[in-house]
Symmetry: C2
């Protein structure tokens, strides 16, 4: 049987256009089977604008409701029982899809995935992972970037473990370097949370390199950066702010004189490469680790390229069976614990 990737077709700011075109590209280019989830009529109408799409392995799974960016996450998840997020997550739970992707309301997508799929034993809180380009051409990963505020040391301990398993299984690095995001490299530096988490991370069966700082997210000195979700989310959004600042300042200064404009024309391909290397849409979505199934969240501003890459990356994730790796290794970590029964409200 084909592996199917379920894609929330109503998630992004300009849905369903980027979703449908992204699905077509992923399916044409990589032969991936995509299940578009959303109101059948709307999706059918949009798909029919692409005459060749009929020959591709793309199906539509009907969902009558849509969760918007304005919806309150938890309420929307409970109230809209036939939302594209809920139906998509259900496909994963029922084994009809190997992964679910949404560019919609991040809070709602995470809440839906947690509720419909449930958490893995040994994981108290799932974590959202950002994939980040570094100055040396590699990628690093930062978790958590939004799922969890006011974390406790054992949450960070679990994030470290899950991040390590993910990086190792996904990128084939035998001993990924794991760092704890703090404000100084020595063990005693940081706040109460990092000081209490440090000894826990130190005794994990991972390559823990100690505290790292904000700049280490981008310099390639470390592969997995562990953080409370509030701090991780601030770091990520601050990075977006700096990137926007650089873009607008560079544009303005390059446009100021004719000579500079000519210079820009000649070096334009460099800017294209530059943009591509730093472009988050190249790296696919952010996986939500620690749930029973594969779930990816992409930016609301996702374009066709972002969706195409998210489908590709979700397919890789499913192919490598990373959820099973996490489940097995988290269970081995605390073998004495009896897995909690997770209530699945669906």
């Amino acid at each position: 049987m084909h592996r199917v990737i379920a894609l929330d077709a109503m998630g992004s700011d300009r849905a369903p256009k980027p979703e449908i075109e992204g699905a077509i590209q992923a399916s044409r280019r990589f032969g991936i089977h995509v299940a578009l989830v959303g109101p059948e009529e709307i999706l059918q109408a949009e798909l029919s604008r692409h005459p060749f799409s009929g020959s591709l392995p793309i199906t539509i799974v009907h969902a009558s409701e849509v969760i918007t960016m304005e919806d309150k996450a938890v309420q929307a998840v409970r109230a809209k029982r036939d939302s594209s997020m809920r139906v998509g997550s259900r496909l994963v739970r029922e084994g009809k899809a190997a992964a679910f992707i949404s560019a919609g309301n991040t809070g709602a997508a995470m809440a839906t995935a947690k509720m419909v799929l449930g958490g893995l034993p040994g994981v108290d809180r799932p974590a959202l992972v950002a994939i980040i380009p570094t100055a040396v051409g590699t990628v690093s990963t930062l978790l958590d970037v939004g799922a969890n505020v006011d974390c406790k040391p054992h949450n960070l301990e679990q994030f470290a473990m899950m991040g390590e398993i993910y990086f190792r299984s996904m990128f084939g690095t035998p001993r990924p370097r794991v760092g704890l995001l703090s404000i100084g490299e020595e063990e005693g530096k940081g706040n109460e949370l990092t000081r209490e988490s440090y000894p826990l991370l130190k005794q994990l069966p991972i390559n823990f390199v100690g505290n790292v700082e904000g700049r280490d997210i981008y310099n390639g000195k470390v592969d997995v950066i562990v953080s409370d979700g509030f701090v991780g989310n601030v770091a990520l959004k601050t990075s977006e702010g700096v990137a926007n600042l650089v873009r607008s300042t560079l544009k303005e200064t390059l446009a100021a004189t004719i000579t500079r404009q000519v210079g820009y024309l000649l070096s334009r391909s460099a800017f294209h490469d530059f943009k591509k290397r730093l472009d988050h849409t190249e790296y696919g979505g952010a996986p939500l680790l620690g749930i029973k199934g594969a779930c990816f969240i992409t930016h609301g501003s996702s374009n066709v390229n972002a969706i195409k890459n998210a489908v590709r990356v979700a397919n890789d994730f499913a192919e490598r069976d990373i959820t099973a790796h996490i489940e097995k290794e988290m269970a081995a970590l605390h073998p004495a614990e009896v897995p909690e029964e997770v209530k699945v409200d669906d």
Copy 2:
């Protein structure tokens, strides 16, 4: 009497060269009187390499000891009673200098300033302020960026007030917009600290615009961004990381072909402008607000330009008597409270 700015001549990574040349430039260009603090012989020898420096209003104040980057902040401050930081702070306490600047060990410089100068009544914890260029050509300010971890809501309340007074007094903006750094704009978004701080900031006599996100630090939508010191420091160092990533990636992609290299040559002046606009050395040091006196901390990698600008900005700060503004307005905020007696251990 001349206003004197005391400068730790032994602070930066390449001290005392950048300090001495920066002092010379500030003094020559702006006519500011600078007191260089450090080992007299070393400073005298370095000064004598600049033949015209004798005619400038530059003096040397002897301090026999130096606190290094490797020193543990609090111990070093207590042990080295004749350090350049301690002697410089003492000049401010005794009214012999209007401000003190150090590019040395940030923790030690802050601890010294707090200990020697003491805190202002109504301020439980002083805050370090970063001055940040925005995409619209203005500056914004972020506090705290390193002095305080594990803040309580009343700390953030005081940071908001001090930041507002600083911005208003320094930049002449009548009603600076003050935002609370969080991970979502609605009042309920964020972690325990931001949710509890929000109502406190809301009732302050300031233009509180609510929660802001990491990207708002750089887009000019807000003037003063209030944050716990751990989060602020992570945001600042993450920004450095992104800036370095952009620089190295751009350099690499521009050097890849001859055409691009020619293009770069033609647009080189744009990169110079660009660098200048984003260069932190243009903005002077970070003021430490809430202590009895003016104290500025600059980056350990400070070059001549950074020191020159720090001297200029510290002189402005002293001229506008911002410490007095903060003292007066913080006292007016809670008039019923009896100011605590601050122990000055010196």
